[in-house]
Each structure stands twice: as C-alpha cells, then as structure tokens.
Subunit: 339 residues, 4 copies
C-alpha cells in the first residue's frame, strides 16, 4: 500500500511517498480503506520529533486524525460492518477511562504510524462509526480536534445549559467547542483577532464576540458580559499570553481546559487567583475511543456538519505542503487531505 | 470585650489592643469564648491589605484560625451545647458545596473580623465541634491549615489507600497533609531543605524523604521512588520554583493541589506536560463548614494530635510579634496564640 | 396577611382561610408579595400528615412551590432588587451542596409554612430570580417540579448530548424533564397511557413515543429503539409497577432517578439486574437554592415556557379543591393557584 | 493441559476433569501457570446456567477468581516478568472505565472459560500483579471478592476517614470490605447472626458489632450508634430481607452498594425513604483490571493478609465438592482450591 512517511531524518522535507505491505485484519480487528486525514497543531510538532522519545521512530506515518471505510472484518467483530465509515481513535490503546501511561503507547502519528496510508488495521474497540451525514473529509476531523473539545467541555467539564463558555479563536478545537457548547444549551463568548472570523463564528451560534486585538483585557470583558459572575468554562488553546486572561475570565470554582502548548516563553504567570478562586486548570489530552463513540452519536443525532475549510484542501501526496502552511493560520475550519 | 485589631492604617505596626461591645447570640447562633488562634501565611498578607478590597476595612480583627468554648446559645440551636469546644469555620458564609463568590463575603480575618477577640457570635451551622482529645491550641489550627489539606486530598482529591502523595516541606498545611494522607492509607513522599525536619516528618509517618537542597530535581526523584509511575497527588505549597518539579513528579491524570501563593516571579513555567499528561492543577481555597465537620469527626476517631510548635507560642497581646516572626520559618508545626 | 392553612386537624377538609401578622425582612432577608403557587404530589401527601413528624405542626400553610415579587429588602442584601420576580427555594435551609439532614428542617409546605400566603420573608440566598419571560404562574412551578427534573438529569445525571432519556408520563416533573433533556441535546423517549398526551409530548420535542397501555413491556421497546444499548437515564416517577420496566430499559452503568413514591405495594421487585448491570438507582429530593439559580438562568437563556395547564387553574381560596382533584390526573401540565 | 469443566449438561454433577491443548502467548499476552482458584456465590449460580445466555456454552471451565505465576511472555509485554505472581482480571475485556456491555463479553467462569485450568493466556493489561506478601491461595481471592468491595467503597463510594461503613456478615466480600474500610480510616459496624463470627470480625478491626438475630431492627441500631446521623455506606450483600434495614441505616445522600442477588422473593420493599433521603442504591459488578491493580498496590503497601479459611481448602479435582458445600456457609473467609 501507499503511505506518506517521514523517512531517514525528521522534518517536513523528509516526508516521502513510500510503500508498505498491505495489512490484514486479525481476530477482533477491522481493515479500513482510508479516505481522508486532517491536520492538527500536534502534527506540526511531531514532524520535527518535538515530543522527544514519545515521537516514535522513523520511518513514521504522520497525522493522528483520519477516516475511512471498513473493507474487511476479522473474526469476532460485532457492531461494525463492511461499508461503515469509521474514525480510528487517536490512541489505539485508550479505549475508555482516564488518560494513562498506557494511552501514550498507541497514539497515531507518533509513536505509532498515523493516518496517511491507504489501509489501516485497528482493533474494533479502537474505531468509532462516523456520523452518517458526514463526508470522509468531515469525519477525518473528529478523533483529535473535535474530541479534544468534547473531552474538555463534556467529559471533564460536564457543561450544562446556561453555562457560559469562552472559546478562543477559530481553530479546529475552538470551532468544535462552539458547536458542542451550543449543543448542550450553553452561552458562548467567542474571541478572535479578526472581525471576519468573529462574524463566521456568530453565524455558527456564538452569543457574544470579543475582538482581542481591540480589547486585550478580554478577561475583564467576560466579567462585564456575565454581570461579574465570570465564565464557567474557558477552553484555553492559546500560548502563554492568553492564560492570564483566562484566569481573569473564569468564575470561582470554574474550569479552564488547557489544550494549547503553553510554553510560558518569557512570560510571567500569576497563579494567585487560581488559589484564591478555587480554579481548576485541567490539561486535556484528546480523549478515549469510548468518548469518540459518544460524541459521534451526539453529532449524528444533531446532524452536525464538521467545519472543513473548503479553500484549504490538499491531496494525499501534498501532506507536507499542508503541514508547512498550517501554522500560517489562514484557514477557517479544518485543513484536510483527501485521498 | 478585648480584641486585637489593625487600627488606623494597615500593617503590622498598627495592630493594637482594642475594646468592642460584648456580642449576644441571636436565633440560630452560638456565643463562643475564644481560647486560642493560630497563624497562617494568609494572615501575613492580609495585615498589609494584600488581597485588595477583599481584605475588608479597618479596624479589622486579624486571623482566620481559632477555637473556643460555647458559653451561650440562641433559640433554635440543635446539636451544640454550652461547654462544647468549637472552631468557627474559615468562611462564615460557606456552609457546604463548592467555593463560590458568596464564600468570600464571610471569611474571618478579612474582610470579616477574625479570631483575635474574647468572644465571637457565629451561626450554629458555621462552627464545628473540635475533636475531644484536642486542646484549644490544637483545635485552633484546624479551620484553615488542616482543612486546606483535607479539601485538597480528600474532598477534591479523593485520596485512596495505595496512592502516592507528595508533601512539600513541614509547614502547617503540609504536616496536616501528611497526617491526612496516612490516615487514608496512602504512601507519603516528604520534601524539605532540612534533614532535621525530614526526620521529624518521618517520625510522623512519612515513607520517603527527599532533601531538595541536595536534590533540586526532586520531581525526577519521585519518578524513581514510584518506579516511573509518578505521584497521584502533589500538595503544592511552594512558590514559583517548585511547581515545575511538581508537574514533573505527577503521574498522567494526577492532581496537583495549588495552595501556596504562586507569583511566578521572574520564573518561566512550562505547562506543556500539563496538557500532554492530562494533569489537573486545582486551586484550593480552604474549605466549607461541612468539610470541617467531616474532618473533625475523622480526627476524633483517630485521636489525632495537631502539630503545634511548643517552642513558638505567643500570648494574646503578642499576635503582632507572632506575625512578624512567622515568615522566618523557624517553627515546626503551627504557631499559636493562647488567650 | 391572608393565608390558607391546615387548621385544627390534618386533612383536606381542614384547609381554611386564616390571618397571620404581616412579616418584615431582617438583615439579609427579602419580603415577597406572593403571586402564585402550584401543586405537587408531595402536597397531597403532606396535607394528611403523610410524612409523619416531618410534616410539621398545625396550623400549617401548605404547598412548596410558588413565586412572587420582591417588595422589600433587609440590610445587606445584594444581587436582588424590589420588583424582581423570585421563587423561594423548596428548602430554605438547603443553599447548596448535597441533600442533608439540615435540608429537611426548612422545606416549605411542611414542616415549614409553605407558599399559600400573601407575603413571605426569606433569606436572600434562599430565593432565586425567575426567568424574565415567565409569568408568576409559570414561575410558581419551578422550585419543586422543574428542579426535581433538573437535579435528576443535570446535577446528578450529568446528561449530555446524544444521551437517551426515558421520560414517564406527562406530569409536571416529566414535562420539565423533557424540556431539560432536549435543552442538553439528548434524545427523549416518552411513555404515556394516552395517545393524546403523547402527541402533546411530541410537539414539545419528544423523539420517540411509547403507549404503555398498548405496550406494557416498554422496557423492551426502549431496548429496540436504542439498538440494544438501553437508555442512559430513566426519570422514574411511577409507582411500584414501573420500576421493573425502568431497570429493563436502562443500559449498563446507567442511572434511574427515583422520584415517585414507590410503595412496592404487593409487588415483587427483582433487583438482580441492578447488580449485574452496575445500575445506579438515585433517589432525588428536589434540589438546592443554587441548583434553582442555575436552572432559572438556563431557562431564561432558552426562553422556556413552563407547562402550566390553562384549563386547570384555581384561585387562592380554592387550593383545597385543587388538591382534591389533582390525583385524578386530568391535567396536562402544572396545576396553579393564582393569587 | 488439565482443566476442570462443566461438560455435556449444566449442573454440579457435570463438572469433570478434562484435557485441553496447551495455550501459547501471542503478542501482548502472558502465559500463566495457575496455582489456586477461589469460590464466589456467582459460581454457584453460573454452574446451573443461572445467568441465561450470559453463562456461555459448554464445555465451560468454571470459577472467576484465581492466581498463578507467569511462565511465558509474548512480544511487546512491559511491566511484567516471568516469575511474577498475577491475578487474571474478572473480565478480560474490562481494562478500565465504567462497566459496560463490552465488559460482559470477557468475564471468566462464564461466558469465557474460568480459572480452573493448568494454564491461562491473558492480555498483559488484563492481569494484575499480586501483592508480594500473599500466597497463591490468598491472591486467588482478589479479582472478584476483594475487588467488589474495593469498587463499592473506593471507586464508587470514595470512602474517607471518619465515614461510618456498615458491613453485613462475614462472607468474602464483607471481610474484604472490613479490611478496605479500616485501611481508609473509616469506622466499621459489622452485622452477623453469629457471636463467634462477630468476635472474629472484631479482631480484624470492626468497631461496632450487631447480632441481627438478636436485633432484627439493626437499621435502627445503626442510627443509635451514629447518634442519629446514619451510616455513610452500607455494603449490601444480603437477600431481599436486609435491604429494608440498609435503607433505614443509611444517612441522607448516603450510598448503599448492592452486591447480593436481591430477588425480592415475596418481600415488600418500601423505596419511599430512598426518594425522601436522596439515597443512592448502586449496583456493583466486580471491577476493572485497573481497579485491581490499584487495590493490589494498596494491599501490598499495607501488607494485607487475605482472609482464606484454613479449614475449608480443596484440591483441584474437588472443585465440585467445594461448590456444593459453599452455600451452607460454614466457612469464615474464602474457600480456595489449590492446584
């Protein structure tokens, strides 16, 4: 089968088209014909071996997010059928329960080979049916980007109707956070540096908009919008600069989900209010296969359309180019490679 | 009645002996003859109006922690009797449930008058019976110092037998953390810069000792002690310097309770592992009156002796001196003023 | 002020119009001009002293649910103003946290005087603002009927989008359960013995309808609708007969909220599947004042209209008649007395 | 290899010595030389196909609980070594998270072959190291009997120091419940019909003893012992008769763990107090492999000795006799077959 893989040395320049033997499903496994894969920030770090020994070894097939069609079943598989569109779970060894050391061993796109290949074999319990209304491109955005937002807001955050949720920007996790928050009856405050992106977010259901370029002290603005209560949840995807505002925005005993890579680069972070306000800063590491099944069922029920950027699609062979341009942030919605 | 109060201006130099009218208990209230009060780090901040408007207004009776004997009951009080030794809860408006904006309004020692007074009147639901084996001096250390550790490990942390708990140093919260962790069957790793203090901690039940002066990378040492698993809980009481080690010490999906005032002064904090390891950083703001009742019942059942420093006791009138010398950290155990 | 009260002896025949002194708000309290009160099943039990000593003493003002307008404020009240429409919380001594012995002491309509009076004085923390779109009649249905459903599904049940929720019948708790489940993106299966009522439920958003008169084994029908998964939540309001079906309907590790008075009268109940399926049967005792505030905020955000039965309204003086006819079950929606 | 298996027909009389091919460990699997197996009530039901289709098919190797030594490792196994004493998890398909439909598929002793065989091959994640101080006989009692008590009190119950725990009788789950409750600093009330067994329980740490033959209304006795508070936890292992007393014994918002098979045979059960007291009845279906690892770590730290009955041991070939005499209840502690 054809794969795109990092060969010889780490780095974008070393992503090459390669050949691997066709895999076969064993007992309890399914064979998937992959149709699409999508880009996450994590992939741009991994390609440079940015997670150290947890990046795995070369050659490595990149990308964690993808979707495809089941074309073969091993013995003993129930609940799945040939023809089903499915998403492989981010970690093939994290079926349910909390994130653990064991979960790391099976994460796609490093250390385990990822989704940029013609065929994948997965244990049946480590794939989830895609919502039936979604194309393969849409479904390819679910296992990491969407599930990270779901884990933050639903599994860990128990978001409920009437809660105020702050969504930062319009990246993949954030747009899914917006969809998921509204699906649970919450009130959404969206921040962005672009009025154009804010307008798109409003069309997707955001209740309040803050342009943080015009309003750098947006944590205070959240206080005003909520009559001094503060937000119940903040989905923190930013760098070192935004966390201080998130801490200002959150209510006592609220939860700030940490998703972005927070390097603290040169910044001074005052965690005093975390203590005096009983705030929870919760690191979020994507989610389990069971969470993915739950989320996909919810998305199916609600007929959700995944926010794929129609203007930033790539072909299978062009994944290196997709990774190269991703950090420029010109997209609105997910960047997808279709096979 | 006699009170010690901050008068005229904020600051240690302005703590004076004063007179206030004797209070009387109304419906649902109890009248307490105070016997002892103890010092927390918070008090040294408050005396300089360090929490801004949340410090309250002058004159202010300082200190949050104390104990005394009930000498009068208002109508409708049940479950308490004249002669009971009790502890007023840290926040008189936080009976149970999570910390909220409402809790702030009633915290003793600022914004509400604290425990340095002959008599207090409290709502019955806002005091807890002291464990019967404790002296007033011991009981005076429970509402803040002990309860903070209880909230971190028990209410929020659900500590269970076999868990590994890292306790930093030998301050009041830390020693109570050690007692509480052992009471629940956990394994305790204690850090300190002093071998003498470590030896005392070992006598109190600590299973593993780390002198962080000799072993600055103590987060790694925790990894070795736990065979690479990491700790289940870290009770983080330090400044900016220790949090990075705590994050290194914690296992995936573990909980770091933030208690100390973390100013990040000049420090660079890398929160990346919080995200990739699904870590929870949980701010802890003391605890509710119901938590205090639970803890005191446990302490009574176990015949706990509170760690009062016998060499650092003060008289009622010397509270300013107690506050002045407290930050020097020469004590082992709680610094108490006996009335 | 005028009150309706049970005088002399317990029982419907002893509900009389009476006079009480006008109350005045003390520190931290509000004075409310009551406008409406609504009937719950509990009231029909209480009127006959059906909860024993917990029913309180005569004379007793009946009814737990009500709403009115603030017409006076004691000192120190913040966040509420004259003119606000508010609901007194079911238990005036249960502000937040879990239900406890303390909560019993302050429940309206027994043992404490209830809502059938011209004026009420409540502590500010024990009332919640009504959603602004609601009439007094609508708001009067919130503190017990609506909040019981909220506590079951949201606070205890953490209902999430995509969950399957079984709602039994079309009584007050059930209709609010339907509204709340849909507000959180869940899929609702509604049961009733009346096709007419099922049709009304469908208009309110129910996804699946089961007439249990035609389909007594409705637990099995739930299995079929969910492709064998079972329901995530069942809001069990029925008598002894329905619980067995609820246990059949629930998925492994699901939650059955027990709300109705389950007398087991003569019935044999097989709890075996509760054990083998890890099911949680959770008794629900209305909810706290903080839960009421959360729910009302959600209802305001969503512009919820409370299901008041327009054909079964009563005047203040006719509360005995309202209680007498309530068990006949001819209403669809809440039965309200308007003052 | 030699196995004991139910052959041809269900029932005790059809348990025969049989031969099966020696198994070999595949990737990620371990090969175990079984040393001991112990009896649970469940086994006496299963042998008669008492769980219907969930009992599996004949021939079936019975028993869920067992222990043995690793004698071979497949590729890719980490954290386990040849020579380790291990316990296979009750369900080989329930690694962590809550009990689910998937968990049923892999339960030992039906529908999957159980522990009465010379060799077992298990996935590495589905076995747990035994505490090093335990014999094989002791370790054989952990995966079901001990873990059921752990799941009830620790995972679901979050038992904490000072809690009051009611333990019913002196069966396997109950004795482990006593050990686990004391390990977490709780206060234990033990019930039994035998003063001799009560005395043995007291020697193991029980704080209060109730002979329910002399005191049938033992729920009331719990109220008296707790000064009217009620118990925080009841581990309910009895039949229909005891649940009513458990409901009387529990405090508001307390948890009754349902473990025994509660047939309600002829009994009338009044669930009214479950509703009015906000009680949680929680079905407990053993526990996951991760829970087993947690528990074994705690047992190792505490040097726990498992309560094996020295007077009721059986040989491998005598398992049918062990199952036959088990319901007579003459044992104190676990009944074990040593190979």
């Amino acid at each position: 089968m054809r794969v795109m893989q990092i060969e010889g040395e780490w780095g974008l320049d070393h992503i090459k088209l390669g050949q691997r033997p066709d895999p076969e499903p064993g007992t309890g496994e399914v064979l998937i014909r992959m149709k699409a894969a999508s880009i996450n920030f994590r992939d741009t770090v991994m390609v440079n071996r940015g997670y150290g020994r947890r990046s795995g070894e070369l050659p490595l097939v990149p990308l964690s997010d993808g979707a495809g069609e089941i074309i073969g079943l091993g013995d003993g598989v129930t609940g799945l059928a040939v023809g089903d569109m499915v998403c492989p779970a981010f970690s093939q060894t994290w079926v349910n329960g909390p994130f653990s050391e064991r979960s790391w061993a099976g994460t796609l796109g490093g250390p385990v080979d990822g989704t940029m290949r013609e065929y994948m074999v997965c244990r049946a319990e480590s794939v989830a049916k895609a919502p039936s209304q979604m194309s393969a491109a849409e479904a390819s955005t679910l296992p990491c980007a969407a599930l990270t937002a779901w884990n933050a807001l639903v599994t860990q955050g128990h978001v409920q109707a009437g809660d105020v949720v702050v969504i930062q920007g319009t990246g993949g996790v954030s747009l899914f956070g917006l969809i998921i928050a509204k699906m649970h009856g919450a009130e959404v405050i969206l921040t962005s540096s672009s009025d154009e992106k804010l307008a798109k977010g409003k069309a997707m259901g955001a209740d309040h908009l803050i342009n943080y370029r015009e309003n750098a002290e947006w944590g205070r603005a959240v206080g005003e919008i909520t009559n001094g209560r503060g937000a119940d949840h903040v989905v923190e995807v930013g760098g070192a600069g935004t966390l201080q505002q998130s801490i200002r925005a959150i209510r006592p005993s609220g939860i700030v989900s940490l998703i972005g890579v927070l390097s603290g680069a040169g910044g001074e972070l005052n965690l005093g209010p975390v203590v005096t306000q009983n705030v929870r800063l919760q690191g979020i590491t994507v989610g389990s296969a069971d969470m993915l099944r739950e989320m996909n069922r919810a998305f199916e029920l609600h007929g959700v359309q995944a926010p794929v950027d129609p203007d930033n699609g790539f072909a299978f062979e062009d994944v290196a180019e997709a990774l190269r341009t991703f950090p420029e942030g010109r997209h609105f919605g997910k960047v997808v490679c279709e096979f």
